[in-house]
């Protein structure tokens, strides 16, 4: 179970695959890291409103140096643009939008996802502190939680597991997972395989997964 990070989808392709699930009119919150790449995906004429936890509603692409506005950042601190119709609110209103169920999907990175829908992304083993940010609010309250992560750790351990070993961010919330090996749905007793990345076999995906893999 090692070396799976070199096969299958690239980071952008993982993001593309999840972004193609976004439906017209959705309000989408993208986490820091690979999920940010979802906003690069061409999904035709579907209109998506991107919400950032710091209160920016309707932001667009990251701007190149020299064109940025230093008063405007996304959740990752990148200087983004605003789309027509954008709005800015304070933090309590921004998280009010999150907790009241207005976010159609949040896409986040994670260290582990379990087949019961739990996931862990705020604390690593042995760390004294943690980095929660907006992840627990989004995980508990968004209408859908999608996760993007490499299928295995650098040492080859599975990140798709039966039960999370790390402290969880929320329980039973994940509905869709994109890894470099394919697209997976937590189904309770295992992960359902929805799609394999090109060049990846069912056997390879099964061997790299720490829980039952149910072929679609």
């Amino acid at each position: 179970m090692s070396g799976t990070d070199k096969i299958g989808w690239s980071r952008q392709q993982m993001a593309d695959r999840l972004a193609r699930e976004f439906q017209d009119g959705w309000i989408v919150n993208l986490g820091v890291g690979i999920p940010t790449l979802c906003s690069n995906t061409d999904i035709g004429g579907r209109e998506i409103t991107y919400h950032a936890e710091n209160g920016v509603i309707g932001y667009g692409p990251v701007l190149p140096e020299g064109q940025e506005d230093l008063h405007l950042v996304n959740a990752g601190g990148q200087n983004v643009s605003l789309n027509p119709g954008a709005a800015v609110v304070h933090h309590a209103d921004s998280f009010g939008i999150i907790r009241s169920g207005r976010i159609d999907v949040t896409v986040m990175g994670a260290y582990e996802v379990a087949c019961n829908g739990d996931f862990a992304n705020w604390k690593v083993a042995g760390a004294k502190g943690g980095g929660i940010g907006g992840a627990m609010d989004l995980a508990a309250c968004a209408r859908r939680v999608y996760i993007i992560l490499e299928h295995n750790t650098r040492s080859g351990a599975p990140r798709l597991v039966e039960r999370c070993a790390l402290p969880v961010t929320a329980r039973g919330v994940v509905t869709l997972v994109a890894t470099n090996l394919g697209l997976f749905e937590p189904l309770g007793e295992g992960f359902r395989l929805r799609e394999l990345a090109p060049g990846v076999t069912l056997e390879a995906a099964r061997a790299a997964t720490g829980a039952a893999l149910l072929a679609s």
Partner: protein, 246 residues
């Protein structure tokens, strides 16, 4: 009928009487709205045994700008309350971590929406509230929860503070504030949660009555002191984030 001006001449003057043991909230999310100049003044002023509240302890990015971590390194902080007490990416290194692991500073880790709502609650006279955030996780262990309409919620308490240090784009001398774009973030919530609010202001501070009452984000009744930020290099201004510290 005229209101008194709240403008003070310098950052040093604005923070001169902050006592040891104060609870101070610092506005800002990434660069926008972060009171760099007031943090620098507090470093020089030297108040100790502080409890500092902000989204992060700072220091994950270059160039490093004034942050809570610097107050920790300067031995002024007893405790921080943040939504990040470790870096967002485990490969990043926070200056804060060394002091935290050595036991030289305490930390309370709070989900970001809960941090915002605890400040908001303090600013509007609500002592506590229930939130779905954090239920079933380590942060809820041993704490009070309640099932309402079939869903479990975690009890969280309001977080009143002694001082709020903010950065605004525009102000009049009465302390009415306007923030620009994502500069708003925690700033209006911290203003309402604090007994004393000190604001560094980017534009020339306007005569009382210059701002449209319909376009004020934080009313002057919350604000005690205003300082105009001088141009660089005397004043500190946000810069574009560079590559991460490794």
């Amino acid at each position: 009928m005229g209101q008194k001006s709240k403008v003070v001449a310098s950052f040093a003057e604005a923070v001169a009487d902050i006592p040891d043991g104060s609870v101070i909230a610092f506005g800002g999310f990434a660069a926008p709205g972060t009171p760099y100049n007031l943090i620098m003044a507090l470093l020089a002023q030297g108040a100790r045994d502080l409890t500092c509240i902000a989204n992060t302890t700072g220091g994950a990015h270059q160039p490093r700008m004034p942050d809570l971590g610097m107050l920790v390194e300067n031995g002024q902080v007893r405790k921080v309350v943040c939504s990040f007490t470790a870096p967002g990416r485990p490969t990043d290194v926070l200056p804060f971590t060394k002091y935290y692991e050595a036991g030289e500073v305490e930390a309370e880790l709070v989900p970001q929406g809960t941090l915002a709502e605890r400040l908001r609650a303090a600013g509007c006279g609500i002592p506590a509230f229930y939130t779905p955030t954090g239920v079933g996780t380590e942060i809820a262990e041993g704490r009070e929860t309640r099932v309402i309409n079939g869903r479990e919620y975690l009890l969280e308490y309001a977080m009143p503070v002694d001082y709020a240090f903010l950065r605004a784009h525009r102000a009049d001398a009465a302390g009415n504030l306007q923030f620009r774009l994502s500069q708003r973030n925690f700033n209006p919530l911290m203003a309402a949660a604090a007994r004393h609010v000190v604001v560094e202001v980017e534009e020339e501070i306007l005569p009382i009555g210059s701002l449209d009452p319909d376009h004020i984000h934080t009313p002057g009744i919350f604000v005690q002191r205003l300082v105009r930020i001088p141009p660089e290099p005397e004043g500190l201004w946000p810069v574009r984030r560079k590559e991460r510290v490794r």
